[in-house]
């Protein structure tokens, strides 16, 4: 039973990373209509920036985490300006943005690989709160606890921001119809930039926390998050922060439990089958009401 409880916490912590990643990914998709294949590279970049802040500059971990998150946000904004803005100006469709995001993904992944010297680095044990916490029979790493808390806090904050604030209303307006939003006094360019920043920051948070949890600072960090985070977005629904969070955590738990009680070779198969299943069984529910685009 203690093993089950331990694995449940492990699954939650892993799922929290997927959830954090999925929140930003879904945000960009809902607001900007972009499937951003480069979203995972923000996570890698944040981890690398935070690592060098700790390793080369001796910055304390909480500050390094903020630096990493900020770096990811700025990177996301830069990618948006370089890879997506020109297409927006041309009125290019979603296919074009998908392809430029793949291009950005290739470029950033390779630069990240160069930055870490083609290997995986990790934060020195002494640099972050690394001990174990024992709650009764359950044992988990301190950082796992922080990760779950961070995910919960970000979920609540983002939900309130999107559903309750003026800015959130502007975001939803741009997502619905950019031209109409502009007419009603929203500055779409500002909303787009802010969305990119927010998405980059959440992905960056997932990156730094994930780098600590998995002792992996390299480009593979973002790639690993990418596929699972993407599954979480689809399963949870891209336009609802709570959905992404729940689905991300659920996927993490399913993965861990599958490996523990079934077989790790089934693990990815189950995740992707779940992804495909949701796409098929809830296509309209996920895509909204495109009443007569289907002939």
């Amino acid at each position: 039973m203690a093993l089950f409880a331990d694995q449940l916490v492990n699954g939650c912590a892993l799922g929290a990373l997927y959830a954090l990643f999925a929140i930003g990914f879904g945000l960009v998709f809902a607001t900007l209509g972009i499937l951003n294949a480069a979203h995972g590279t923000y996570a890698s970049a944040a981890a690398i920036a935070a690592y060098f802040a700790v390793d080369a500059l001796g910055v304390p971990f909480p500050l390094a985490l903020l630096l990493g998150v900020a770096a990811a946000a700025v990177l996301a904004l830069a990618v948006d300006q370089v890879a997506f803005q020109p297409l927006r100006a041309q009125g290019g469709g979603m296919l074009g943005a998908l392809i430029t995001s793949i291009a950005a993904w290739i470029v950033l992944d390779n630069l990240a690989d160069d930055a870490t010297g083609h290997q995986s680095l990790s934060f020195p044990l002494s640099s972050y709160p690394s001990g174990m916490i024992h709650l009764g029979a359950i044992a988990f790493a301190r950082m796992q606890g922080w990760t779950i808390l961070a995910m919960a806090a970000v979920t609540v904050a983002m939900h309130l921001l999107i559903r309750r604030s003026r800015f959130g209303a502007a975001m939803r307006a741009v997502g619905w119809n950019e031209a109409a939003a502009a007419l009603s006094g929203v500055n779409p360019r500002a909303v787009v930039s802010a969305t990119a920043l927010l998405a980059g920051a959440t992905s960056g948070l997932a990156g730094v926390l994930g780098a600590v949890l998995t002792q992996n600072v390299s480009y593979t960090l973002g790639e690993g998050l990418m596929l699972k985070g993407f599954a979480a977005v689809v399963v949870g629904g891209y336009d609802d922060v709570r959905g992404a969070a729940v689905a991300g955590v659920a996927l993490g738990i399913i993965e861990v439990m599958t490996a523990q009680y079934l077989s790790s070779s089934l693990r990815d198969g189950i995740t992707y089958a779940l992804l495909l299943g949701f796409l098929l069984l809830r296509p309209r529910g996920l895509f909204g009401s495109a009443a007569f685009t289907r002939a």
């Binding site: 093993l3 331990d6 694995q7 492990n10 699954g11 912590a13 892993l14 990373l17 690989d113 010297g117 083609h118 290997q119 995986s120 680095l121 990790s122 020195p124 044990l125 690394s130 174990m132 044992a139 790493a141 796992q144 994930g210 949890l213 998995t214 002792q215 992996n216 593979t220 960090l221 690993g224 993965e255 861990v256 490996a259 523990q260 077989s263 790790s264 070779s265 693990r267 990815d268």
Partner: protein, 378 residues
């Protein structure tokens, strides 16, 4: 310089008893490198080792005066298609007499039939899949890790006396599957019970759950049969979660980057190694370490040694072929070689095109980041 000459002279006496001297000229070896892509960190070491070997061979006039060996490099980025293109370009280039390549087993398996079909001698420098060598055309300069793993596991079991052990296995890597199976059989024959096998995938990054799973089996020791990134992640997760008993690693733990990354977590973890700059035992090995460190500002690793051996082995074959060697005569000459004469392992017999080393060197990282012989302590 003088020591090269001395080494060269000694080998000259040993190896060229009957062969005619080589016709003057430059003999080119096609080297398919992997200096970009997923295994670039090792790819560079192989290439450096190979270029150092060629320089030594030429400086020592090992092949005779006016005879030089050249290494022509083409980068493949570890992509099978690119490797094949590079290999066919070497095959088409009449001045190339042999090709050496491949870290990844799948890439090596793709290139092998093409070079065999073209009658081109192929020396594989990195891939560990058993069964790749096929004399007279295909040779492997990689010491097969499986037997060394088993020997290490038995030695550790003898010292630590575990009742039960758990295994970590990279389930999507066939080589490791075979290595684990052989070790498991040997350990079970020595009455060490298997508590369980935790499967991971080579692309995994999170090992907290896997570590929890293994520790839930309460093993007296844990043996790791995965590629480098998972092995590092598993050791880190196990130690973080408070596992203090014996962990047995494998040769992927040898690069110094692993120590830099894991620090105290990996100290004392035993694993077998074919070559270590810290433990260079023979004069040839010490010379290699010194020359390599002087030229590349870093100590050679196991990969550097394999790249180095590959070129020396081809040179040895060229010398044995004598006259004006062709790809055919080189192949025939390589097939006749019983060992790699200029080696850094302290003995390197060749059986069926596959090299081996005598004995098993079991090492562990010391707290100050050097490889030292394993002390036998848990």
């Amino acid at each position: 310089m003088i020591r090269y000459l001395a080494a060269g002279a000694a080998l000259l006496l040993a190896a060229t008893a009957e062969a005619a001297p080589l016709a003057p000229g430059t003999y080119t070896v096609g080297f398919v490198s992997e200096v970009t892509g997923p295994v670039a960190f090792a790819g560079l070491s192989y290439l450096h080792g190979a270029t150092l070997a060629a320089a030594e061979i030429n400086d020592a006039f090992y092949l005779g005066s006016g005879v030089r060996i050249a290494v022509a490099e083409k980068n493949s980025g570890s992509d099978a298609a690119r490797t094949i293109q590079d290999a066919t370009q070497f095959i088409a280039d009449r001045s190339v007499i042999a090709v050496t390549c491949c870290i990844l087993s799948a890439v090596a398996a793709s290139v092998k039939p093409i070079t065999i079909n073209a009658g081109m001698p192929l020396v594989i420098y990195g891939a560990t899949m058993p069964g790749l060598p096929a004399p007279p055309l295909v040779y492997s300069m990689t010491v097969l890790p499986g037997p060394k793993d088993t020997a290490t596991a038995l030695a550790v079991a003898g010292a630590v006396k575990p009742k039960t052990v758990a295994y970590f296995l990279a389930a999507d890597n066939d080589a490791f599957k075979g290595r684990m199976a052989a070790t498991r059989t040997a350990l079970e024959a020595a009455h060490v019970t298997t508590a369980g096998v935790v499967s991971v995938l080579t692309s995994d990054t999170d090992f907290t759950a896997a570590a929890t799973q293994a520790m839930g089996m309460n093993p007296d020791a844990i043996l790791i049969y995965t590629t480098q990134a998972p092995a590092v992640g598993i050791i880190a997760a196990l130690r973080q979660r408070g596992y203090t008993a014996t962990i047995v690693g494998n040769d992927v733990l040898s690069p110094v980057s692993v120590f830099r990354k894991l620090g105290p977590a990996v100290v004392g973890v035993p694993f077998p190694i074919g070559f270590s700059a810290d433990l260079a035992a023979t004069p040839a090995a010490r010379d290699f370490v010194a020359a390599y460190t002087a030229q590349f500002k870093t100590a050679p690793d196991i990969y550097s040694a394999q790249g180095y051996e590959a070129i020396w082995f081809i040179a040895q074959g060229l010398k044995a072929a004598g006259g004006t060697p062709t790809r055919d005569s080189l192949a025939a000459a390589l097939a006749a070689q019983k060992e790699v004469e200029h080696n850094v392992y302290g003995g390197e017999p060749i059986v069926g095109g596959q090299i081996d080393t005598t004995g098993t060197l079991i090492v562990a990282w010391s707290p100050d980041g050097r490889l030292v012989p394993w002390s036998g302590a848990p």
